[in-house]
Symmetry: D2
Subunit: 466 residues, 4 copies
């Protein structure tokens, strides 16, 4: 906490309660862009070194600038940096302090660059790391799913469609569905990272710069894979941020689906799941409550992740080339989506890691249901009944059983044969296990396939470096 600079007033309850802000504060971004200090200093150092190498500034001037920038970084990290909100942003704070520390030579740093390409470079550096962090968090979450699936490889529960019991499935199969979703998410964040991985320094105000700079070497030092191909596009392009925000929205949607299941499964009526104690909370008024607050918050935070995407799309709509100050609005929502997503991925991994699944309740839910109806219809199809006709026969049968409070397993062969003379003794062998085993197709829920899917999931994680 020691590095926290003077607050800029945005979290001051008194100021906030007044609900007012001076006009002069309107353009200030320091309260959120100071988190870019590492990226800003790193990019400036690379720029300064290149200016020196190219002879645009003297080598020793470049060295002084680099030294000064490193001192600035140390001051920030030790908490000694004298933040000045009146300088508006991280860039001017760093640069101004550089003047204090090394004098007028600091003025040479801004040679051959503009504020626009500096901001853009910082944001891209940040984004690249955020994509890395997000993919890592996704891989961790996927690992937690693999572990949970492995631990529940024989647990049976009803698969649901329309929140109605549909067909029996293995819990491991259900859990691996989420593995697939998060796998696609990881692909999208990797693509967003690829889009961010382009150096913008050198675009200048938007026409390029009139100095013999070496953009490729700066890119190399900063680890960028490419450099921008058009300076006007470069200063106004925020596609990489939109890609992250879009991928985050889809990922948040996945997390909201899981959270919904956590909430429903935690209900007294389902009782499929006990969330770990440190992911539930009590009630200020009702002493008996163990609420799935973390899952609810994970679901609720979908809102802000969607909202941040829409906010940036709105901001960018209809802007003429090239830079417009509207673009300053690109960062807070992005930071918020990154922070929210990383936190939610972590919390979700914690929940899945500590979840206790109630295999007894799940099996009971399968048994006291008609989830074998499809199997019985398929049995008739196997005997030559067209599928549509078999469907009608079994539908009527299950309706009658339901009216009597009975299940398929309670039926005698004779009763089966009233419904269709094609039923034979082997219909009585249809049970939960045979049903699950019969879905023996790639992607299906049979134990063989699920085990194969687990092995495949582990292999993919291994390949991803987990």
């Amino acid at each position: 906490m020691s590095t926290d600079p003077q607050p800029t007033g945005h979290d001051d309850p008194a100021a906030s309660a007044r609900g007012t802000e001076l006009a002069s504060d309107y353009t200030v971004s320091l309260h959120y862009d100071r988190r870019l200090y590492r990226e800003d200093i790193r990019a400036s150092i690379a720029h300064a070194r290149m200016l020196g190498r190219q002879g645009i500034v003297e080598e020793d001037e470049a060295a002084q600038i680099v030294d000064g920038l490193e001192k600035v970084r140390a001051e920030i990290e030790s908490g000694d940096f004298p933040w000045k909100p009146e300088l508006e942003d991280i860039h001017m704070n760093v640069e101004s302090r550089l003047f204090d520390l090394i004098g007028d030579v600091a003025g040479r740093l801004h040679t051959a660059r503009s504020r626009n390409d500096q901001v853009s470079t910082d944001t891209r550096l940040y984004m690249r790391q955020a994509c890395d962090d997000t993919v890592t968090a996704l891989r961790t979450l996927q690992s937690a799913f693999v572990s949970a699936a492995e631990a529940n490889i024989t647990t049976v529960l009803p698969g649901y469609t329309h929140l109605q019991r549909a067909q029996p499935v293995l819990l491991a199969h259900h859990l691996l569905a989420y593995f697939e979703m998060f796998d696609r998410d990881a692909t999208r964040f990797a693509a967003a990272q690829e889009s961010a991985d382009v150096l913008t320094l050198g675009n200048g105000a938007m026409a390029g710069v009139p100095y013999p700079i070496d953009r490729e070497s700066v890119a190399e030092e900063l680890g960028f894979g490419r450099i921008t191909a058009n300076s006007m596009d470069g200063v106004s392009d925020r596609d990489f941020a939109l890609e992250y925000l879009s991928a985050a929205a889809i990922c948040a949607m996945h997390l909201s689906r899981l959270a919904e299941e956590f909430v429903i499964w935690s209900s007294d009526e389902f009782r499929f799941l006990s969330l770990p104690d440190n992911y539930t909370t009590g009630s200020s008024i009702m002493p008996q409550k163990r609420n799935p607050d973390f899952a609810e918050l994970a679901r609720g935070k979908t809102g802000r992740v969607y909202g941040n995407l829409f906010a940036m799309l709105t901001t960018l709509k209809g802007l003429p080339l090239t830079y417009n100050r509207d673009l300053q609005e690109d960062k807070e929502g992005l930071f918020d989506s990154v922070d929210t997503l990383l936190a939610t991925l972590g919390v979700t991994a914690g929940m899945i890691g500590g979840a206790r699944f109630n295999a007894g309740r799940m099996r009971q839910a399968v048994e006291s249901s008609y989830v074998l109806a499809t199997d019985i219809a398929d049995y008739l199809v196997g005997k030559g009944t067209p599928f549509r006709e078999a469907h009608i026969i079994v539908s009527n049968l299950s309706d009658r059983l339901n009216a009597d409070g009975r299940f398929f397993k309670d039926l005698s062969l004779d009763e089966f044969r009233v419904a269709s003379s094609l039923f034979e003794a082997d219909v009585l062998e249809i049970d939960i296990d045979s049903s699950i085993a019969s879905r023996d197709v790639p992607g299906g829920t049979s134990p063989t396939r699920v085990k194969a899917a687990l092995a495949e999931a582990k292999a993919r994680l291994k390949e991803a470096g987990q």
Copy 2:
């Protein structure tokens, strides 16, 4: 700034750069809800007094609680309050401190209320004030428009459709169009306030409370117009916040239209407008620049205001009754929209207040155009030509003039008569002033009507207490 408590880490650049957050932080709301301290304490005091009056707690216990709460408020306002992020929210911080100050009797405060109705009451108190503040800011802005209109009552500019010069209008008329937009905005915020103006305390966890509380007296003390009619609805209703967010989105849209005009009118090509110096900024690289940054930011911030609305709509979608922790996500976006809107309204009033309109450029734009075409067509209609035919005649005429670089005022009567024999000498009297004067219908741009509209605008502001 002295009241700023220990930061909760959310603005710590080092923490942020790590992009990680401990699971235990996931449910913390103190960093944003502490701004509700006044509302929280005010509502608790009203609740405690009622408990005393009703004999639910002893009168002297109630008095101790009230005293303690007032001390807590004083501590917060003097900056001496020991904020504890680990207590998660403003409510527990206040309550815990109350225990420190007055001992176990503090435990009686939470009798006959739940955290849910407490939070809801605080938010409604905040919202009520925010609506007041917003309407006040709108009235101030409207006053600035009235002043600008009054100062430009004879200035003529082209009215635009499709950003093409269409017909001459008075600048005052153009400015008063915004007066009308902001007037409708004020009506919407007043409606949002009406929706917020309902006491929720007494709903308990969601079924009501089993104590003989007097909700009406609490409502009266807190200035609420009504009390909620159904406890289950009461704890989960956030319509009042959505109404504010919707009204804010529409208002931000209006502000974005104005900002767009400020930006376009400030361009070298238009030069209709010079924004005040303190609302423009220079460039870090281009020495000649005077950029309309404030207008651009006002336009860009439309994004976050839209995003906050969409975020809350998303969060609320599909939640079963009653309270779900998702609802904790109702505040940050709301606070952000209120802060953004108030700041933007203030900045916009500042811009319009200091704007210098370039009447010469505006008139020149009218003169070197064909904006009298409609008048000339209408002239022919007056002579008996069906409108559609007149339209074609004048369209062809303006095309020919345009090809020659001439304007209607350059035409002789003979030339007019080549186009239509119905033209007579009085067609030459059609000019900018006659055109404007002829729009003499309610809502039209004729000087008489605009003066009447100005008078009406002032009367409306006066009625609104400005």
Copy 3:
């Protein structure tokens, strides 16, 4: 179906599959704006009559135009109207047909008006009616809730927070929570109607018109309460549509919450509810399924209603005054939200009307739970225990019971007294009914209060003309 004109190709599967559209189709709006034919003709008739009254056209010309317009309307309604997509919109189709029917005098109709104020007037007429229809549909739905509440005035179920059983409530109380939501919705649509209820005709292209028109008389004939005060604002104002779309989004959110409850309550695990047969569907593959498809669609359609709001907000962002062709995009989303909302309100009323609530399951859910915990804690508070301490005692107690698979009703007085010596014999009298009866505060769930709320709900509906 006979009135359906030649399709404009937008639903042609072949055309769609090609995924292409000729550039010339890009501006066509006929396929959606032809539904405004009644409004368009009605407004034109009012305009023509006024032109006649004011002597702007001859009285007999006005009469011819009115006759012709009535013929056009009859043609459309009988299906004989020769629709021409190449004329792009409803307005040109009507006007062109008018020329066919009455000759050149048709050209006088467009005197003193522009396409912009014509479109705006049509849309406002449509909107006014749509608000009426929506409020009516809401009132019908509220009536269905009142009937369902009345029929379930003694049914008890667990009230939920966090989808966890919280406290016992009357089902009627739960249902009336939705009555309140829809009541607020009705208020918002009434406000939207008020905003739409303003005549725009007379604004001309945007400066007003140079004819001695009588706007007030046109407003009166069309039933508008007011006329626009500023012509430039008038042609570009779409606030009324945004207000409808915002109110629709909030209403759709309410409907999605109800639909979520329908889906959850229909699950095998809850079985609180049987939806009427005509609101459930089977499965193409699983013979046993009875799926709550209508409720799911009602929930899913929240998406399009939110989307339509954001579409229009996006379209309007940053448009300079006055009319821009972007505004043509104001109608499809609006029509879709109106259609979607009316259909969903109707379907929801049908579902609630035919729903069978399973009172036995609901009571069982209350009994096999710890929802009396708050009551027992409150009992201790009544004996002098501070609330916070009572909360802890009962929390521990319910934990132990839960571990043993027992409930509060299974506890002897001695066992109670182990937890706190303040428990006395009357603690054994705490039961579901006493719990519910004790929430005897305004808005609470006690039978007295719920009956009063029902009476109040009926009175409000009666006042609303239901």
Copy 4:
């Protein structure tokens, strides 16, 4: 148009005007999903063939089904198909007709598949083609930009930041900025296609199917690159649609930026651009108008493309596994975004293809401005002045010139030297051409770099098969 089936009432003006819809219509999707008839039949044919190959149905039965399906397709394409809205969707219409044509054997087609995986397969086939079409349209648009850039390789205009003249650039450079945006768009649509390119058939209701199907061979016949790995994920995954919608939103944003420039550049004040006649329209009232309606609509349609994305994100939020009827809402918005985007890309290519750029006006805008200020400051930097100091000197200089209505080219060397003694005679050589030539860095606007960029752009298009 001949293939257009009986309309289902959704475009019937009379029905629409009533604003009501029967409950029985609520679940109907035929009016929009019939456009999937090709995909539906194609997938069914592949499925039937596989069933035959695997011996799940008799080979001759499979052949009959395939024949029947081909007849159905022929009927639809010839317009003879008897559409039945009461059958709700395209799938049941096709299947029901198949029964008419080939009798009960039709019932075997639905063996080993469910409606859910059928719908998903159809949508993925559609999506794959839509991505292809979109990339093709983007490439065509990029080609138009390359042509326009090539034709304007020597045209100079002011580059803008904040809509203020900033630095001189080549028009070709400005145009190629858009080439880059559309290049990134193409990458995103290719990624969306990759996500769609996965066979879902075989997932059954959600557990897989109990038949020895050969999913790989079906994938091969339908050209899918992969098959889904988890059946529960497979039936409920709509990520591929969200990816398209996200990419479409970003692309629409790019198009809106261009459209905004078209509108601004077409204004009388800028006059940088004359849009082709068939992309402008007149006014119903103002005879002189030539409005950029197509550009405005292109900008306005950003709204619906954003709205469709948010609609689907909203619909998917919080859905438990697996299929829920909410998912039926996945198609209309998707179709609308595809149609809108393809149309807008086409219209935009038409506009850029026929646009006439006014090189004279553009150069004049450069000349009567201070866009050389950066060059002059850089000159001083070259002489040893720190950048920040040079910036201040030139800023003051341009202020003074502006006050006098003069430009840098009007300054004598003596006047320069008053500002700084470092100015020498060669400062007078700084002009537009030298300024542009000096931005000789990768991505910069110097003629050399722009020519290289053009060559690179052509190469990329060639590689993309254009």
